[in-house]
């Protein structure tokens, strides 16, 4: 069983390598022109060769994403807490929230550009808006699902609403919160890159738009690859934090949790 565990760990890595090898072979066999679909060796080579020029763009995108993510999570957690704790607030604001949620976020970027000009600010705000909603929904759900019996046990002892929130509501909403962070960080990347492609002079999104306008297709793919790597890395970081903080959530699924 231990050996199988090792295999399970190695297989995802093998799958990634196999994917790129197949890609390489397919491009070679069918002689796909580089401006349609570059081989992995071509765009990875480009990525390494032109790294000094690419690096500032990657740093900019990462910075924008993290700041936007932090902003979105903070605001989202606050809104989620209000909704989760009060049925009244929930009923009043939910249609409004769904309305905001339904608007394609890319439609908001031009408005942000009018307000804040081209640059980092609209990208940060787009990232924040993108990751706001999963956080709101998950925090609200986590807080709204406290067991009534446990609440009774504590209320009978004279616990205030705040006591119950602190001792029960907040800890129990942590798994929901951390699950939403994983989704939120990925969405924040989407928001950043979308804004960068429309309204920025630096960042991976902006770099890719420039590259595609000069048919520098390997650089476009280098950008896509870099985004994928950053996305996976951030996801992994938050998944690890989640596993550490809410270790109890997965095993307790079958017990009154």
């Amino acid at each position: 069983m231990r050996a199988w565990g090792m295999v399970e760990r190695v297989f995802p890595l093998l799958a990634i390598i196999a994917f790129f090898i197949l890609w390489e072979i397919a491009c070679t066999v069918f002689q796909v022109p580089v401006f349609i679909l570059p081989k992995p060796s071509e765009f990875l080579g480009d990525l390494i060769r032109r790294w000094p020029a690419i690096l500032p763009n990657a740093v900019q995108t990462l910075y924008t994403t993290v700041v936007g993510f932090a902003l979105g999570v903070a605001v989202g957690a606050a809104i989620g807490a209000c909704i989760g704790l009060s049925r009244f607030v929930y009923r009043v604001t939910y249609p409004l929230l769904i309305g905001f949620y339904s608007v394609p976020k890319i439609a908001v970027v031009p408005i942000l550009v009018i307000w804040f000009g081209i640059g980092t600010v609209p990208a940060i705000l787009t990232a924040a808006i993108m990751c706001l909603f999963p956080v709101v929904v998950n925090v609200a759900t986590g807080l709204a699902t406290t067991e009534p019996e446990l609440e009774d046990v504590l209320r009978a002892l004279g616990a205030s609403k705040f006591d119950i929130l602190r001792r029960v509501g907040l800890p129990r909403s942590m798994p929901y919160f951390f699950a939403s962070l994983k989704i939120a960080i990925s969405l924040a990347f989407v928001g950043t890159v979308v804004a960068e492609t429309v309204a920025a002079n630096i960042g991976i999104g902006s770099m890719m738009i420039l590259a595609s306008s000069t048919f520098d297709v390997p650089l476009v793919f280098a950008g896509v690859f870099l985004l994928a790597v950053l996305g996976v890395a951030m996801y992994a970081i938050f998944a690890a934090i989640e596993g550490y903080v809410t270790f109890w959530a997965r095993r307790s699924a079958d017990i009154a949790a």
Binding site: E147, V153, L157, G158, R167, P171, W248, R251, S252, A256
Partner: protein
């Protein structure tokens, strides 16, 4: 009436006829949900002496659990009043411990910390919690040892079996030495053997600490084994149909349940409930 509410509970004699601890007077309760309202309790009267162990049995939905909510102050009756220890219950009275069929342990706390939890909420422990934490954990540890969970105190709740969780839940209900213990079908989800073990555990804890207990149960044998007094309630709207004293010496053993006296009593309780169901 002499209620003797000036002296602390620990100095009170165990069974003093005049010493009524819980007095349920003409209680009526209407649940309102939207436009419809349900009469859950009507004309309910009941008295409990200090330190008495009372069981309430009755058909499903007869308002047994509701009565516990009223006694703890989590709910107010529509009419009538409930007096605990000489004063009417108007808000949560803080001297109660509660346990339910669902043990509701917090999965992120170790068992011992779950048991200590109420002390973070209720005075006088709450304000001293930081300085006395070690002492409180010691209290929890000895309570857990007493119910046979000493070795499991550092386990998480999801590492324990259903019977163990219910033992821990009893400890949590008793940690602040409540004068009133409210138990809502605490053993309802357990298998028969585990349940019988826990009857004995509960009897022992009660005999040592002597809180006043209201136990709501579906299990007539459980009621007879544990209680001094069994109240049978009617179907909704609930009220007390008959009251039986259980005159078996303590500590009771499981064998006592197989005596004529006990079987007859179980049978009689059973007949009240069947009769009421058929009407």
């Amino acid at each position: 009436m002499n209620r003797g509410n000036a002296a602390p509970a620990s100095e009170m004699p165990k069974h003093d006829d005049a010493d009524i601890f819980v007095d349920v007077r003409d209680v009526k309760l209407n649940y309102k949900a939207g436009d419809s309202s349900t009469l859950a309790l009507d004309q309910t009267n009941m008295t409990l002496k200090r330190g008495e162990f009372v069981a309430i049995v009755g058909p499903s939905g007869c308002g047994k659990s509701t009565l516990l909510k009223l006694a703890s102050g989590l709910r107010r009756p529509t009419e009538g009043e409930i007096v605990v220890d000489g004063s009417p219950v108007l808000k949560p009275i803080k001297i109660v411990g509660m346990a339910f069929q669902n043990p509701t342990m917090l999965p992120w706390l170790r068992t011992i910390d779950n048991v200590v939890m109420p002390l973070k909420i209720v005075e006088p422990y709450r304000s001293k919690f930081r300085t006395e934490k070690a002492k409180y954990r010691q209290m929890a540890a000895s309570l857990l040892t007493e119910v046979g969970l000493g070795k499991f105190q550092d386990k998480y709740p999801w590492e324990l079996s259903g019977g163990m969780l219910q033992r821990a839940s009893l400890c949590r209900a008793l940690i602040h030495d409540p004068r009133l213990l409210l138990l809502d079908e605490p053993f309802g989800a357990l298998d028969a053997f585990t349940r019988e073990d826990l009857w004995q555990v509960l009897q022992k804890l009660w005999m040592e600490r002597n809180p006043t207990v209201i136990l709501v149960t579906h299990d007539l044998r459980e009621a007879v084994f544990l209680a001094d007094t069994v109240h049978v309630m009617s179907a909704r709207p609930g009220r007390v149909l008959v009251t039986h004293k259980v005159d078996i010496r303590r500590p009771r053993t499981l064998d006592d349940l197989f005596t004529d006296k006990a079987s007859k009593l179980v049978h009689e309780l059973r007949s009240h409930i069947s009769h009421d169901r058929s009407v």
